[in-house]
């Protein structure tokens, strides 16, 4: 309970201009370019629970199913012709090969009749075993460059993942932290999509040199909507 007004002006997606195109930042953590019929999703970290279990930490084995279910939801809504999975699609090297068959079938079902690109990530540098789709280190389309790790000094139009950006605001003595799209107009870093993925504050040193702080906006993913927060408001 609280004495604040409900956030009734929340919207589930915000459209921003990026790299000369209109991009939809969806509350669920995906980016969609309508003109290109292209959906971007990053850091799925499929089979993360299993990867930990292999090392003695028996995390719940439900993360892959949950991630795939949410992925199915956004794919059903946008029905994209092209999907780019922006790296770290699997949490470790054995992830794709050891993935239980039902998950593999679900994933293959989502991929069917779409151009699907697996971008290499640091967790999964090799193409995923036993799955269709194209594999690439990076892809350039219409002035946009899609790669896993952002490259300092890259030309405008870079869309990357890897860092799991999160943002934090402090209001009325309370701190609220959420995953976010981080964008300064020249570069956009995607939130991590996977169910067991954490976040790293966009003000962390790992983001140093990537954004023009004056123009940075964090599009924070709330439970009900997506919220554009100016860089100066972040903590």
């Amino acid at each position: 309970m609280n004495s604040l007004a409900p956030a009734n002006d929340a919207s589930t997606a915000l459209t921003i201009a990026f790299g000369g195109a209109q991009a939809v930042c969806d509350r669920r953590g995906v980016l969609f370019f309508a003109a290109l019929d292209l959906l971007v999703v990053s850091d799925l970290h499929l089979e993360k629970g299993a990867a930990f279990a292999r090392r003695g930490r028996l995390l719940p084995p439900y993360d892959t199913a949950a991630t795939l279910k949410r992925l199915a939801g956004v794919i059903a809504d946008y029905d994209p012709g092209i999907v780019i999975s922006l790296g770290d699609s699997f949490h470790d090297h054995d992830g794709a090969a050891e993935m239980p068959a039902p998950f593999r079938e679900t994933l293959a079902g989502l991929m069917a009749k779409r151009d699907w690109y697996w971008i290499a990530g640091n967790h999964d540098p090799a193409p995923p075993a036993d799955l269709p789709g194209h594999s690439a280190q990076e892809i350039a389309i219409d002035g946009l460059v899609f790669r896993h790790e952002p490259v300092p000094g890259a030309a405008p139009g870079e869309i990357a993942g890897h860092l799991h950006p999160g943002a934090r605001i402090v209001r009325r003595g309370r701190s609220v932290r959420r995953a976010c799209f981080a964008c300064d107009g020249d570069r956009l870093i995607m939130p991590a999509f996977g169910s067991l993925t954490g976040t790293l504050n966009v003000l962390d040193r790992a983001f140093a040199g990537l954004f023009d702080r004056e123009r940075l906006t964090a599009y924070m993913l709330g439970g009900k909507g997506i919220y554009a927060i100016a860089g100066g408001m972040l903590r």
Binding site: A5, A7, I169, R171, R172, R174, S175, G198, T199, Y227
Partner: protein, 843 residues
């Protein structure tokens, strides 16, 4: 003067071996009756509980059986195998083990006894630990965590081959926590190794000594009890409530009004121990005392967040009597005998009668002289609570909480430890575990689920069989699958989970994250530091600090100035008011004859309440409704403690929401709850569209509780602790220490995943049980709802009542909770939009 408890018949007073008799005689001492009584009982092969006030020679009593047995032991022959540990002493504090070593060393040296005594704690260097494994001392002084490590080691059987006694100090404090559960399982293990083992428990006075007596012996048959030796209390303490002509505040916990009087009391005594309930109160009191410390009296501060080095310095100064006063939290509660304290001041109400008695026991360790104590209520309700505590102390009433069932996360840790020591048979391990009192009621299916959890995570989806941590051998024994599992166990042993903390490091102003560090002052909870912006000031370690920034797991600060420094607030450390004191406060409220013992400003306040509203009888629940501003308030006075009230507040607002009153918020204190709504609740109660009996029916603890709690941060925090203790997530990995933040994030995520996919998982069950007893205090809330059935007194008023003033002042101090986060995001995005528009218009 010697206080004697007559030996209980059947046990003749034993003869002390010669060196002991002479040792007592040369000092002009006589062994005390309870020391001989305990010795006789242990010689008869019994385990025993000794309940005695401080200063009664409790430590010597506890060790006399071991010392006399060791003194009479024949010398080891050359070539004979090394002897194992003879006596294990376990205390909740490392410092206590060190203290005991010093106190025991003296008589042992003076009697030239061939007895070796050593400590083993987290601070013991690894070469010494190694040496102890090969050449164990006769008496080993250690902690519950170290015991867990020792029994999980493959050579435990050899190490404990000669074990005769376990001495458990401060047992009353150990048994109420998960550390106690871990210790009870360790004790069961030791008994399985050495069935003749005898346990000796040392405890302060408690409400139910039978529970402790059961705790000391195997529950086979169920309900078996150790012997008990009780030493009657010494002189009654001389307790008073601070008298003042100043106005006692309506609410708050700072007791600022009383500081000059407290300072006078310090000046009039040799050494004063000042107790407070929370670390923030300690910081505030310390600062306020120094503000008026014109005589420059040596006044020190001691609480758990301060840097260890600084704490040790303060402890040293205490020992040498070079301090005049020390401000302390519960870190000094336990029986460490430091210096010559002749006054205890309790600032803020003590919250429990037993707690007060234990704290007063810290003063004046000669039990025949009365201890002196002054209670300083911080607000008007606390005046009544202090009065009730004082009377309870006079009557010797005890209100230590009842013991709870053993926690399942602790059990999981223990099961893995058992496998690390040697492959175990599930039937035998279960039998061993139910012999420990906290786990006596553990049913076999639950135990099997815990074993399954330890092996593969206990998930309905059996996808981790190939990654199992423990596996069944051909012979049906469970063994660890690889050495790494044992290594991970050792690094994660223990039940103490701290909130994520950051080091507080000094730097120069304005250097922020780029600064090089100066000295570390201590640690502060991350969630407090996260709410600060550079330039904000806060009070820590007795000084004003300016927040410069956070870098990795350190918070950089510089010397700050200013009067309006914030005080870090900590979620922990706030004890709820005990049930006993709550009942006494309600009784006092109901009986004007008792008001004459209260200061006039308090009795006049109560008289006003009688005139303007109504005073509830002891067993009644008063509910007042009144308008104020454009809001309608409902104030309830259950006096059941802050935790139960918070839970009630959450549930009540849900129900009011459904009833259509449009509740906007609530606030809870130890004494009362206030809920405010848009709609007129007085009118709704009048026309019957709202009914108090239905609103406060016990069924609110069913579905409403389930629905609310599942999403609550309270449960997430509890889950995090269970996940760490049970070994689902690791506290530490070999070679790398995880920062608290990473653990928090992943534990929260795991919780969400688990709740969505396997709500019946054993760890969620453990979490729920923990939260119900802990942060939610559901048991107490349930008892209250059942007590007030048919006894709800409603008073509709046209304005605020006198009794409602304190709780109404709390409104606005409390942070918003729950769904408010989403609203804050919306607000922030609107605001940043406005700011951008402003920028555009300025340009």
């Amino acid at each position: 003067m010697e206080h004697r408890t007559p030996p209980i018949s059947g046990f003749a007073a034993p003869d002390l071996p010669a060196p002991f008799g002479e040792w007592f005689a040369t000092r002009g001492w006589q062994p005390r009756a309870h020391q001989l009584d305990l010795l006789a009982r242990t010689r008869a092969g019994r385990s025993a509980l000794l309940i005695a006030p401080t200063g009664a020679g409790k430590t010597l009593a506890g060790f006399l059986p071991a010392l006399t047995d060791l003194a009479g032991r024949p010398k080891a022959k050359p070539g004979e195998a090394r002897r194992g540990v003879h006596t294990l002493y376990i205390s909740p504090l490392k410092a206590l083990a060190v203290d005991i070593q010093r106190n025991l060393a003296m008589p042992v040296a003076e009697m030239s006894l061939p007895i070796t005594i050593e400590t083993r704690t987290g601070d013991t260097p690894s070469h010494k630990r190694q040496r102890q494994k090969h050449a164990p001392p006769d008496i080993l002084l250690t902690t519950p965590e170290q015991l867990a490590l020792l029994i999980a080691s493959p050579d435990a059987d050899r190490f404990f081959s000669d074990l005769r006694f376990v001495v458990l100090d401060e047992l009353h404090s150990l048994v109420i926590s998960k550390r106690g559960h871990l210790l009870s399982l360790g004790l069961a293990r030791l008994r399985a190794l050495r069935p003749a083992l005898q346990a000796i428990g040392l405890s302060a006075t408690v409400a139910e000594p039978e529970a402790l007596r059961r705790w000391l012996v195997p529950q086979d048959p169920p309900g078996a009890m150790a012997d008990i030796v009780t030493v009657a209390g010494g002189a009654k303490p001389d307790i008073s409530i601070l008298e003042t002509d100043d106005r006692v505040p309506w609410s708050g916990h700072s007791a600022r009004y009383a500081i000059p009087k407290v300072y006078e009391a310090i000046r009039a005594h040799r050494t004063t121990l000042l107790f407070v309930n929370t670390r923030s109160q300690a910081e505030l009191l310390f600062r306020e005392l120094w503000r008026i410390n014109d005589d420059n009296l040596p006044i020190a501060l001691h609480h758990g967040s301060l840097d260890v080095g600084q704490r040790r310095k303060v402890e040293k100064a205490m020992e040498t009597n070079s301090l005049r006063a020390i401000v302390a939290t519960s870190t000094l509660d336990l029986g460490i005998d430091w210096g010559d304290v002749d006054l205890v001041v309790h600032v803020g109400a003590p919250k429990g009668a037993s707690r007060l008695a234990q704290r007063i026991g810290r003063s004046n360790h000669r039990m025949d002289e009365p201890s002196r104590a002054i209670l300083v209520p911080a607000n008007r309700f606390e005046v009544m609570e202090c009065r009730a505590a004082l009377e309870a102390n006079y009557l010797g009433a005890q209100d230590t909480p009842p013991l709870v069932e053993g926690a399942l996360d602790v059990l999981a840790q223990h099961v893995l430890g058992a496998a690390c020591a040697a492959p175990f048979d599930a039937d035998r391990l279960h039998a061993e575990i139910v012999s420990a009192a906290p786990y006596a009621a553990l049913d076999r299916p639950t135990f099997d689920r815990i074993v399954d959890f330890v092996a593969t995570g206990g998930y309905a989806l059996k996808s981790y069989e190939r990654y199992a941590r423990i596996r069944r051998t051909k012979e049906g024994l469970w063994r660890v699958s690889n050495p790494r599992v044992a290594q991970q166990y050792r690094l994660n042993v223990g039940t103490i989970v701290e909130a994520p903390m950051l080091n507080i490091r000094m730097t120069r102003r304005g250097r922020g994250g780029a600064a090089r560090g100066g000295p570390v002052l201590g640690k502060v909870e991350e969630y407090f530091l996260e709410t600060l912006s550079p330039g904000d000031t806060f009070l820590f370690s007795g000084r004003v600090l300016r927040f410069e920034g956070i870098r990795e797991n350190e918070c950089y600060v510089s010397t700050g100035t200013g009067e309006d420094a914030m005080v870090p607030s900590y979620a922990g450390g706030k004890f709820p008011l005990s049930t006993y004191l709550a009942g006494e406060v309600r009784a006092m409220l109901a009986d004007p004859k008792r008001w004459k013992t209260l200061p006039s400003q308090v009795s006049e306040w109560l008289a006003l309440q009688r005139d303007k509203s109504v005073l509830p009888r002891r067993e009644d629940l008063l509910v007042e409704t009144f308008p104020r501003g454009n809001r309608h308030y409902m104030v309830l006075y259950p006096f059941e403690g802050r935790l139960a009230h918070q839970t009630l507040g959450m549930l009540l607002t849900r129900r009011l929401e459904r009833a259509g009153t449009h509740p906007l918020g609530f606030v809870a204190s130890d004494y009362a709850i206030a809920v405010w709504s848009l709609n007129d609740m007085s009118a709704m109660l009048r026309d019957g569209s709202l009914g108090l009996a239905a609103l406060l029916d016990e069924d609110m603890l069913g579905d409403d509780l389930e629905a609310w709690i599942a999403d609550s941060w309270l449960l997430k925090r509890t889950f995090r602790n269970c996940a760490l203790i049970s070994g689902l997530v690791e506290k530490r990995h070999p070679g790398q220490e995880k920062s608290g933040r990473q653990v928090t994030v992943s534990a929260d995520l795991i919780y969400d995943v688990l709740r969505a996919h396997e709500p019946d998982h054993i760890l969620l069950r453990a979490t729920w049980a923990d939260a119900a007893l802990g942060l939610l205090d559901v048991r107490r809330l349930g008892e209250m709802l059942s007590r007030v059935r048919g006894r709800i007194v409603h008073k509709s008023l046209d304005r605020i009542s006198p009794l409602a003033v304190p709780i109404m002042l709390e409104i606005g101090k409390e942070a918003v909770a729950g769904d408010a986060n989403e609203a804050l995001l919306g607000e922030a995005s609107r605001l940043s939009g406005e700011e951008l528009m402003q920028e555009a218009m300025d340009g």
